[in-house]
Symmetry: C2
Subunit: 529 residues, 2 copies
Amino acid sequence: MSIFYKNLTATKAFAKLKQLEQPAHLSTLLTPERIRTCSIPLGGGLTYNYAAKRFDSRVLEVLQQLADEQQVIEKYRSLLDGEIMNTGENRMVLHHLLRGQLGKDVIHQGKNLREFYRKEQERFYAFAEAVHQGTIRSSTGKPFTHIVQIGIGGSDLGPRALYLALKNIKEVQGQLKMNALFLSNVDPDDASEILSRIDPETTLFILVSKSGTTQETLTNEAFVLRRVEGIKNVGIVPKKHIVAVTSETSPMAKSAEYLETFFIDDFIGGRYSSTSAVGGVVLSLAFGKETFEDLLQGAHEADAKALQPEILQNPSLLDALFGVYERNVLGYPCTAILPYSQALFRFPAHLQQLDMESNGKRVNRFGETIDYPTGPIVFGEPGTNGQHSFYQLLHQGTDIVPLQFIGFLRSQRGEDIEYQGSTSQQKLNANLAAQITAFARGKTSMDHNKEFPGNRPSSLIYGEQLTARALGALLAHYENKVMFQGFLWNINSFDQEGVQLGKTLASAALAGNREDSVLSTYAGLLGVR
Amino acid sequence: MSIFYKNLTATKAFAKLKQLEQPAHLSTLLTPERIRTCSIPLGGGLTYNYAAKRFDSRVLEVLQQLADEQQVIEKYRSLLDGEIMNTGENRMVLHHLLRGQLGKDVIHQGKNLREFYRKEQERFYAFAEAVHQGTIRSSTGKPFTHIVQIGIGGSDLGPRALYLALKNIKEVQGQLKMNALFLSNVDPDDASEILSRIDPETTLFILVSKSGTTQETLTNEAFVLRRVEGIKNVGIVPKKHIVAVTSETSPMAKSAEYLETFFIDDFIGGRYSSTSAVGGVVLSLAFGKETFEDLLQGAHEADAKALQPEILQNPSLLDALFGVYERNVLGYPCTAILPYSQALFRFPAHLQQLDMESNGKRVNRFGETIDYPTGPIVFGEPGTNGQHSFYQLLHQGTDIVPLQFIGFLRSQRGEDIEYQGSTSQQKLNANLAAQITAFARGKTSMDHNKEFPGNRPSSLIYGEQLTARALGALLAHYENKVMFQGFLWNINSFDQEGVQLGKTLASAALAGNREDSVLSTYAGLLGVR
């Protein structure tokens, strides 16, 4: 089948979607029956419930047509098969292949890339095992007790969010093998503070940069090396306290000085790299191989579900379509991620990057300027905390923000108390149930200040417990949702040209450029030179 | 002078503002001269630079007219003098009085409230001093070594953000007297994890709830008490490990069982309470009295600046006016807070509450529905981290997001390295200078994918170093900005009726309500009963 790429606004289905009458108010639509039926398994034991989304059967019908017309499943299959989907950078997009084989063999320069990724996994599993066994030690012969991952953006947010999401459950299961910290910001206070909390001699640093040229990361490497060099212990070899994660063609890869080097390649985008060595090395060291394998398994399950052409059997695609409907028809510019799980504290920050860096684009995949909104603003904090903060605006503000709730039946640590007739976990989930209901239904009142207009759409992803497998599925669900939205908007979700100008100007400011008078005035104000 | 309250859209100035031609592209407007002249001292040694905002002299002129017509300075003076500005709840709004006297004496039920607040300050300073000296100890006679603040929303986000913002500088100054942790979420994993990191016997818990009825906070108190009760030590009296911060009329205040109780009152709104005992107890314990006094001094300086009727001498008011122009004329729905300081890591989360809970309203102060946008969505992460994440959308997305940058010339910890010819602090600020320039100016390119449209407005608050005084001014600047915007929009920025419905439904779900079939179906799905 031939694949065509066209703008959202060039499709017949979108024209139809815009002409549809809006669905009835959610207070009418949302019934127990709808809640029970609007559920799709998402992989990893999770369920996607979309009962509180704004839709009726006509909307669903046209969304299916839109998915078909934009050939999103065919495009996903092409991507899996190794087509050049990152057109701007002329690259394949292969993060799914990290989790298993769903398409054809992908051979690049004679190398089967599934085998390459698998081999790197086996290498870092073996490395982690050797560190845990104490057969790999610091250059001064001490066992490594801590990990510090040095990376920024995709080399930081995803791995950090996943580590924090699993730390508690692994700790109570007795499987927290090493504690990890993350160093990202070029602010010297970040490096200084982290180094004040660890013993550099017994810390294994993971230096992560695909290009091997990331300014912040190399600067922080130098910061850390300075400290390791300062250790007064005979035989210390500072770089032997560092493992590198990079691509085979990077300057870092050419250094034989690191304790070990693990490889990714150009087909794993930074924000999609959590299931590569970028996340795998630190997570295997922290929790062991089995945990990372569980995570990959969950992600693979979600990837497989995403192949379903029927939108009601494909949660990532359906979620993507609702997002486009909300953005391009209903006109909502933002979306909030609201996990009712403290362990997912930094997961919204990862999704913020994943979504906004992928789909915050104003040209289509052919480089033509487009005239419709693309990726929304994404933000979020855990419930119940957010309820006592920004939910006021969500309930009664002048703008509608579609909400993405996440919840689990059981806590991770298992410790709980009964207080006033219920456990904390029950209170947590009672609040979640209450919020979905309140946002959808609203409440009338003679006092307009106590009135809730309702009709605020939300979705709910829920499962038994936040395990590694569930987390992998959750991660992949959002990766696939973002990918499908890119197909629907006809943009390239896999490049990030928008970060380049700032880099160039920062280098110019550091070089003391005086020709750019605006830049140098700001630089002067801020004491750069 | 009589004060009139009218809707933004009922003012002559707003009608004029809407009719003005938009200012030229920022690439034209932004010159070194403009950068040098568009600066206003903000208090606390900070400067507000607005050169990269979208305005010209005509816009400024009409913004001044708008401020005058909406009588915002008069309204601020009324607030300081103890008028009932929180009309919905029939309350005064007195957080400024915590920092000093700028208006008339405020007498309530025969009590001078400035004296009351000052007396509570002296009480918690003396208490903190006694804990540091070891004259106040746990019920088993051990010195307190750690603090855990138990609170949610305003009792959590502000104090937590301030503590984290000052922890590093106080640590290197040798003034970090006690480490603090914060427990907020009703998720049992939050309490369980925090308790796993401290010794409950030597931890001083601060229970913060103005009403004394906050479900999450009382539940977490019970969680903590359970643990303290479990300590096998003769003479343990669990509640003597807790100090309470509450209002004099709350159920908590009536308990004589706490080690000590400090008071606020109904005139200190949760999100405005960081400079009351809500923030003062924990910050005095962590850093000592002098640090908290410095914070109050900085806040007071910003409060005093906010009295200037000339908008070019009043940074909070000018910032507020730009925000209204961007929201109601230019049509931008969001704003981002981007501190180039890792220490301000959680400051955007506090401002998110401050702004979205205050101004996320759809009725005016008379309870009438209004037909123009009010408070924006607020989000943010520290630079340089954000640059490698969501900045792609900010530079090249289809929506424009006004940006609020914050930076400092010197780091807090003083440790730095030179690498490739510059220090980390220089790199940090070079990036900040580069981003302001890039967002304003943009860049043309034959390749549209590498084109930056620019004209993205930003402001910059900067200073020598993030000290307690600077932080106090920063905090008060935003509080006052939000207050002024409330006056401009004619809304009540001091109540939060939007949080009530969720609370009611959560209680119903916990009580096993079956009549509300939607709620009980969601509750069933989530295992509440």
